[in-house]
């Protein structure tokens, strides 16, 4: 069985924060560039570790899948 990277873990942290905190706490987190940057650095580090185990073909496949997600995001944002 191949390795699966759960992007929910990598990307839903901010969404969880929004739903699980008071408005003030959420606003504070949202406004803290330091916290945002820390989370970003951590996310990059975790992602990098996982990408290292993937073949070049799998990396390119992931690019295409990310692209599909981007198109879906545009459909909601830009209509």
């Amino acid at each position: 069985m191949g390795q699966m990277i759960d992007l929910n873990t990598l990307t839903n942290q901010s969404a969880d924060n929004v739903s699980g905190e008071t408005e003030n706490e959420s606003a504070m987190n949202y406004l803290s560039p330091k916290k945002v940057e820390e989370e970003r650095v951590q996310r990059r580090s975790e992602l990098r570790k996982k990408l290292q185990s993937m073949s070049t073909k799998a990396l390119l496949q992931t690019v295409l899948e990310a692209q599909e997600t981007r198109v879906a995001t545009y459909r909601k944002y830009d209509r």
């Binding site: 992007l7 390119l60 981007r70 944002y77």
Partner: protein, 149 residues
Amino acid sequence: MEGQLDWKGSHFANVLLCDRGLDQILETQNMSHYPHICSEATASFSVLSDTIKALHNMLMEREEIESASQVGQLQKAEMEKLNLTAALHLERIREQAHDWEEERDGNCSSIGKLLRESVQSLQSKISTCVETINESIDEIRATMIEIED
């Protein structure tokens, strides 16, 4: 079996993005939702850009120059498209606001024409970006076919 990212399990974009778009906002004339939509879309695009850049860096480290170049070209075009799309949204909002003003006051000025031309110009530039993006995707697919399993 190859390792892969679990995009299907990651429905973060669907969770983050509410079911409202610019057209609906302009139609209802309720602009209060727009900043919310923008911040949610920004968060989603930011995560996607980070992922693509990480993939690009990994390809560079492996000296997969051709593949890295294709991914880099794709990301560059996507960044440009996002900037143009944001500009288009602002211009459409201006155009709509101007139309409302004209309708209310019964005036007709050349500003409306300029705004419509600006919207068309941005839409044309976005179309060019989309062509570049599609070419990059085709190149990536072709490269994948060349790579042996």
